[in-house]
Structure formats: structure tokens, C-alpha cells
């Protein structure tokens, strides 16, 4: 069995003291901390192998290009994609969804066509579709949550029509932690020949992934939440789409032939990777996957579930705390409010005890509107958290009440 108690040692950030106290980092859903092997790989690469990739033929360029493309293969295996051309490196999950929505929309979305999202979506999986609504006259429909913060596959059945051109939804909610019934929704969509984009930003670091088994058409990943470098994301696009979609950004590297009057484009993934890429970040991301694989994603899932359950139980016992959502399947995220104390104030008071959480609407205004709250406090669990962290969190929550005389 893996010893999760020593994992903080692998992350240099935990040597920090915050206001004299140990850092209790419960903001991983925002961005995860980086293990030493990832940080060191960035330095090692810049110090010994750096060069631009795919362009020059000198030794450094060969090394860098090979390392870069190796990561693509590693990602391909990790998410069990069928083809390496299906793995597109992007600036982040936001960039990945913008790419997919823009390229797909340009070719397949016309006036009156319908796009289905959910009330749980992060703005990154709404605003790019909103652009299509504005530019192409599409219609957006939102699958509704139930009182537990879950979305039943029936909600999709209700709103799918002949005009539905794509369904895009989050694998795991970044507010309620709800794990959506992804497979059922995809099966439904497939039965009607509707492509599906999954926002996997909150899932890839918590649960095992198999895009072939899921059968999705697009899957967006945020590498910085997988203990990887910032400024990096991945779009998985099924080969059919990688082949068919027009390019997104234009620039160096993504072309086939350029004339004064006409331009032809390269094949995927090159077609979608315009300009100089985040070479060091891509290379170092291989170490993030190695880090996850060394622990074992199953072990991570189990460990995080235990911490989550422990946390939910403790919070439930606290009468002033209202936990947002009560989904039967939940991962790694606990958002809550405390009567009489604004989430912003909670976050500031917790920080005084070294506890880092996030307060706000977490880029999910539609959900917060639906819940009739302007904001919430969110504690999100990463691989380095343990039950002791939860104890500190809960003590600190009690302190909030003291500060506010509640």
C-alpha cells in the first residue's frame, strides 16, 4: 500500500510556512501544486536539452522534438486514445474547449442548431458556446440539476431534439464535486448520433480515464491540475474530428503549403498546434503522469475518497455549515457556506491558519444563481491532503464563527 502520509515531502511548497503555520493546501481544484520531479524536469530540460521542436535538424532540436513527441505518446497511453494524432497540446482546458467549439462550430453549427450544456458548467465550457450562439445563431439549452446537485440522464432526454448538434458537459463539477453519469449520457448521445465534448478538467487527476471506453468525441484536460506545469492543457479529439475539423489558430508549423492566394494545412495534431509550443511544459508533463502512475490512480481515488468522506462527515456535523450539493457520486470537492459569514471572509480567516481554500462563484455563476447564493467557499482535495488537514480546516471554520461572534 502506498503511504500517502509522506507525499507532502515530494512537493517543495509544503516546506513553506504560512503565517507561521504549516500550509494546508485545499485549493487543488483551482490549480494543483507541483511535485519536485516535475519542477526539476523543467530545469533539467532547459539546462541540457532545450530547443524549439519540430523545426531544426540539429542535435538539441532532435532531442527536444523526441521528448516532446514522447509525451504525446505517454498521454495517448494514459488516457487510452487510439491514435497519437488525437492528442493536441493546448494552453489549458479553456484553450482546448475554445479550439473544439470554434473549429466544430465553424463547420457544423448553423442558425437554429442546438447546443446542450448543463447548469454545472464552468464558464470555460459555456462562453465559447455562447460565442457560437452570438455568431451563428445557435441555441443553448441547459440540462438541469436536481436538488442534490446531480444531473440525471433523463434531463438530457428531455431537451435533445433533431436540431441538437453537440452536447458538452463536465465530467466532475468543480463546485459540487458531482461525478456525472458520463457513460450513460454518451450512450444516449451516440444513439442519436450527437457528438459529445467532455470537460475533464476536474476528473483527469482524480479518476482513471479511458477515452475509448467512454466513447466521447472530445475530452479537455488541464495539465496544471494534474500536478503538471501551468500553461498547458490537452484536447483529445477522436480521429474522425481531428481529421475533419478546420484548423483553429493560424501560424508557423500548422501549414502544408502557403501561397499568396491559398493555404493548405498539415494533418492533426500539427494542424492544431500553431506557433512555438510550450516545449518544457510538455516535456515535464511526462513526469506528472509518471508521478500519478507511480502512486496509481486507483490508490489516489481511494485515498482522496477517504479524505473527502471524512471531511463531509465532519462538516455535516457542524450546524452552521451548509454543504453545497449532496450527490451520490462525488469526487474531491466540498463547497459550503456558513450562515452569517460571507465566503470571502471565511477564506481570509482560514488563511490566517495556513488553510488555503477558494471563495467565489468558481466560474460557475449559473449554478450559483440557481442555488440563489452569490458565492461559496470551496475546499478541494489533492493527493497530498489527509485527514489531519481536514481537522485543521474544521477547527479553522469554528474560528470563523468565533471571529464573527456566531
Amino acid at each position: 500500500m502506498i503511504d500517502f502520509n509522506n507525499i507532502k515531502n515530494k512537493f517543495p511548497i509544503f516546506k513553506q510556512k504560512i503565517k507561521g503555520k504549516p500550509l494546508i493546501y485545499l485549493d487543488s481544484a483551482n490549480s494543483a501544486q507541483k511535485p519536485k520531479i516535475v519542477i526539476d524536469e523543467i530545469s533539467r530540460f532547459y539546462e541540457t536539452e532545450f530547443s524549439n521542436v519540430g523545426r531544426s535538424v540539429h542535435t538539441l532540436a532532435v532531442k527536444a522534438t523526441n521528448k516532446f513527441e514522447e509525451t504525446r505518446d505517454i498521454v495517448k497511453s494514459y488516457i487510452n486514445a487510439k491514435h497519437r494524432e488525437e492528442i493536441i497540446f493546448t494552453k489549458g482546458a479553456t484553450d482546448a474547449i475554445n479550439l473544439a467549439a470554434t473549429a466544430f462550430g465553424e463547420k457544423y453549427i448553423n442558425e437554429g442548431d442546438e447546443i446542450i450544456l448543463t447548469e454545472l458548467e464552468h464558464h470555460s465550457n459555456y462562453v465559447p458556446w455562447h460565442y457560437l450562439r452570438n455568431k451563428r445563431g445557435a441555441i443553448i439549452k441547459f440540462a438541469s440539476i436536481n436538488e442534490n446537485g446531480e444531473i440525471d440522464v433523463d434531463e438530457f432526454k428531455k431537451i435533445i431534439t433533431e436540431k441538437t448538434k453537440i452536447i458538452a458537459f463536465t465530467h466532475i463539477s468543480n463546485v459540487t464535486g458531482t461525478i456525472l453519469p458520463v457513460k450513460k449520457i454518451i450512450d444516449l448521445a451516440k444513439s442519436k448520433n450527437i457528438p459529445v465534448l467532455i470537460d475533464g478538467t476536474q476528473s483527469a487527476q482524480h479518476i482513471g480515464l479511458d477515452v475509448q471506453d467512454l466513447g466521447c468525441d472530445f475530452y479537455a484536460i488541464s495539465c496544471h491540475k494534474m500536478y503538471g506545469p501551468n500553461g498547458l492543457g490537452i484536447l483529445y479529439a477522436k480521429k474522425k474530428w481531428a481529421d475533419e475539423l478546420p484548423p483553429y489558430q493560424g501560424g508557423g508549423g500548422m501549414i502544408s503549403e502557403v501561397k499568396k492566394d491559398e493555404i493548405t494545412y498539415a494533418d492533426s495534431p500539427t494542424k492544431f498546434e500553431a506557433g512555438t509550443m510550450q516545449t518544457a511544459e510538455v516535456v515535464a508533463f511526462a513526469k506528472s503522469i509518471q508521478f500519478i502512475q507511480d502512486l496509481g490512480i486507483k490508490n489516489i481515488e481511494e485515498h482522496e475518497s477517504q479524505v473527502l468522506e471524512y471531511g463531509l462527515e465532519k462538516l455535516r456535523k457542524n450546524n452552521s455549515v451548509n454543504i453545497i450539493g449532496n450527490p451520490s457520486k462525488r469526487a474531491s470537492i466540498m463547497s459550503f457556506t456558513i450562515k452569517g459569514i460571507h465566503p470571502h471572509d471565511i477564506a481570509t480567516i482560514l488563511d490566517d491558519d495556513g488553510v488555503a481554500i477558494r471563495a467565489g462563484h468558481h466560474c460557475c455563476q449559473i449554478l450559483h444563481d440557481k442555488l440563489k447564493i452569490p458565492a461559496s467557499a470551496r475546499a478541494s482535495i489533492g493527493v497530498y491532503n489527509n485527514k489531519d488537514d481536514i481537522d485543521v480546516l474544521c477547527e479553522s471554520i469554528n474560528k470563523c464563527k468565533k471571529v464573527f461572534n456566531i
Binding site: 460571507h342 471572509d345 481570509t348 480567516i349 461572534n405
Partner: protein, 147 residues
């Protein structure tokens, strides 16, 4: 920096029992603002008389203790004061949070100075400065914006 400096009794009192909430009667200026990051909102209403006196001043809004207290203290301090004086206090307040200066206006009572200055604790919490300043910036916008 101590939390107690941030959440002083005065501030908690104003946050829990905000003064001058709602729309003041006969308001002829207003402006609103909102912080997309935390969801804080404020809407300032004011009645500016012909003689440049702010005879009515109130607010609506939701947000953290700091932003509510700040709006409440603002309305309490400036209601009934004249325009130029109010602008001066506002600028001094913003200056206090930006440059850590002190508020020392003669024509404010000692009590009022203590009350406004209670928000100076925010200086040490950079992410919270916006919470404290939003109402005051909104007041300046409202002064420019006739209904």
C-alpha cells in the same frame, strides 16, 4: 497582521447591521459596481441638493463583511455633508488603503475618524482591498451620474 485588526467590532457591527440600506428618498444620482471574482455587488443612491449638499445617501448590495461595512460606514459618514468635502474624504479613504496614510480631516468627529480608520486593517490583506474600496469608487461614479 492580526485578524482582529481586520474584523474589528466596529466593522462587524456595520456588516451585521448596515446603516442606510435601501433606496434613499428622492435620490437623483446612482451607480452600481460588481466584482466578478467574488460576486460582491453595491448600488449607491444619493440625493444631491442644489446647494451641493448630499442630503440623502444609501446603498443596496451584497458581499463580504468588509464590503458591507465599508458601504455602511461610507453612507453614515457622508450623509448630510457637502459635495467637495465628501470627495475629499473619499480620496483620503482610498489613499489610506493605497498608501497607508492616516485620515485626519478636522471636520470629521473623532468618532467618525475612528470608524473610517477601522477599515485601515485591510491594508495588510491585499486581496481584500477591492472589497473595502468598491463602495467609495462607486460613490465617485454616482456623483458623475445623474438619474
Amino acid at each position: 497582521m492580526d485578524l482582529k485588526e481586520l474584523y474589528q467590532e466596529i466593522i462587524l457591527d456595520h456588516a451585521k447591521n448596515p446603516r442606510n440600506k435601501g433606496k434613499c428618498e428622492g435620490f437623483n444620482h446612482d451607480a452600481k459596481a460588481h466584482n466578478p471574482l467574488c460576486g460582491d455587488k453595491v448600488h449607491i443612491y444619493l440625493k444631491l441638493d442644489k446647494d451641493k449638499n448630499i442630503s440623502g445617501l444609501s446603498f443596496e448590495g451584497e458581499g463580504c463583511a468588509i464590503s458591507l461595512a465599508s458601504a455602511s460606514i461610507l453612507t453614515d459618514t457622508l450623509k448630510g455633508r457637502d459635495l467637495n468635502f465628501s470627495k475629499k474624504v473619499t480620496n483620503d479613504f482610498l489613499d489610506m488603503l493605497k498608501n497607508k496614510t492616516k485620515i485626519t480631516l478636522n471636520s470629521l468627529s473623532e468618532d467618525q475618524i475612528t470608524t473610517i480608520s477601522s477599515l485601515s486593517g485591510v491594508q495588510e490583506f491585499p486581496m481584500r482591498i477591492k472589497c473595502a474600496t468598491m463602495a467609495w469608487h462607486t460613490l465617485l461614479s454616482a456623483l458623475k451620474k445623474k438619474v
